[in-house]
Amino acid sequence: MTDPSAADVVAVPGPASPRPPRLAFRDVTKTFPDGTVALSGVSFDVRQGEFVTVVGPSGCGKSTLLRIASGLEPHTGGEVDIDRDKLGYVFQDATLLQWRTVQHNVELLAELHGIPKPERRQLADAAIETVGLTGFERHYPKMLSGGMRMRVSLARSLTLKPPVFLFDEPFGALDEITRERLNEECLRLFQLEGFAGLFITHSISEAVFLSTRVLVMSARPGRIVGDFDIPFPYPRPPELRFEPAFAELSGRVSAALRGAYE
């Protein structure tokens, strides 16, 4: 586990950005034991206050990228710099513990990190309020909708006040309206907490709406084949999705993504 100051030394300073990277990939390669090359020479930084989204065809190794960033899977070449002590990680499904109430699910990570009970409670209360679930503290997951479960999952990560937040296609299983609302929620949290976000999705509009930067990955071996700065200022209103500039940018990302399939 390197601390952020150590990461400074290793990372190449960005041209104009004063902020140190919270997550840095340098020429990262992943080869599975069977010889499949999942990632090949992937390099990028995510700085504090940046929201980077990776889009790519399914099976391109996007999720592998995230599993490597989080340390769930080892990489086989290159360097990864990240402080994993208090990592926010939102999974494809909410991964709530069915036997715990919303309150106790949100307290779980603080519990695993040995934070004492009264403090844990406070953190959970605050996080539950942030995601708008006040009043549902005593509900069990089976009583909640898919969207609400995802909010609980977000709240659970928020209790750690993570400097880096990783999202592994978290809203892929939800209907469009719920997904859009949760995207807006994500942006609100991003502005509120100022974390460095790395988001994986296959939805272009989700990527453009959320991010400061969109990376396009190619299919096997996964490489970064497109890199787009998304200049829209925050806070971003929901209507942004229907602006011509948004459509134009989405079109460019889409074209790059089409190229990635070849």
Partner: protein, 300 residues
């Protein structure tokens, strides 16, 4: 019987994320109006089985009085005579109850030992694939051993009293506890495991906070099967030991040998009751402990 009431204890939750997608309304699709009163539900649930019981008693009388001629009526004495001879004659009743109590103790102690032993074994097996592979075949073998073949040996080794009877119960009840617990411990999904890995949970923490709670529904299934088996084990073991303090199994054998059919029927009825009570007890415990979060818990 408590199922529909428990369901009513949780009012349906309003959807926060605006329009509820179809089929996503949550697991509590309750009819919004006309929810029946608790008492009405209880009555509705109690009436059909009560009718079946009445029908069975009527059939019983029919067999006793119509099908069997008086000389052969001892094969199926009418219900009131069973009650008369088996339950209302004080000496017989206490004899049956004393035997039942002994068998119940055997069953409970056997079940308790099987639970502790079986869960420990399953927890050990869940820790590594190689441990599971080394031990599981023997759990299966234990299950496959015909218990009646072992009974004489057990009596030979441990005498004909409490200990060997308990051992019979343990042998017979262990397997479903091991398999169900193990299945349950391995049922937590990969995402949940990843979550615990990400936040540096130790093996013990993972077991206590993830695997064991996730296993509870399966564990309770194992308990219910094992409970029924341990009652059978207590009675069958006793039946075949033929020595030592008489449990309900020996008593049944005695009544059979002496053609005391009213008493025989009474003994069979109370031993069935024991099995039913034990099964019901675990169903109740299951509902109490995990019914509020586990959706399938009410299906039994």
């Amino acid at each position: 019987m408590t199922a529909p009431e428990t369901e009513l204890m949780h009012p349906p939750v309003e959807e926060l994320d605006l329009p509820t997608p179809p089929g996503e309304a949550g697991p509590l699709d309750l009819p919004p109006r006309g929810t029946p009163h608790r008492l009405a539900i209880a009555v509705r649930n109690a009436v059909p089985p009560a009718l079946v019981l009445l029908g069975a008693i009527a059939l019983w009388y029919l067999i006793s009085y119509r099908l069997l001629d008086p000389s052969r009526r001892f094969l199926m004495p009418p219900p009131h005579q069973v009650v008369q001879e088996g339950f209302l004659v004080w000496s017989t009743f206490t004899e049956i109850m004393r035997a039942l109590w002994l068998s119940a103790q055997v069953a409970f102690v056997g079940l308790a030992v099987a639970i502790v032993l079986g869960m420990s074994l399953a927890i050990v097996m869940s820790q590594a694939r190689w441990i599971e592979r080394s031990l599981f075949p023997y759990a299966v073998a234990l299950q496959a051993v015909p218990i009646l073949a072992l009974v004489p040996l057990l009596g030979f080794w441990f005498g004909y009293n409490f200990t060997s009877r308990v051992i019979v119960c343990v042998i017979i009840a262990l397997f479903p506890i091991v398999t169900n617990t193990l299945f349950g411990l391995l049922s937590a999904d990969r995402g949940q495991h990843d979550l615990f890995t990400l936040h540096g949970a130790s093996r013990a923490t993972r077991m206590r906070k993830l695997q064991l709670p996730a296993a509870l529904p399966a564990i309770f299934t194992g308990f219910r099967i094992a409970a029924g088996l341990s009652v059978i084990g207590a009675i069958v073991g006793d039946f075949f030991f033929r020595q030592g303090q008489p449990g309900i199994g020996q008593l049944i054998d005695k009544y059979r040998a002496r053609l005391m059919s009213e008493e025989l029927f009474a003994a069979i009825i109370v031993s069935s009751m024991l099995g039913i009570v034990v099964f019901w007890l675990f169903g109740f415990l299951q509902q109490r402990m995990i019914g509020h979060w586990h959706e399938q818990a009410r299906d039994h």
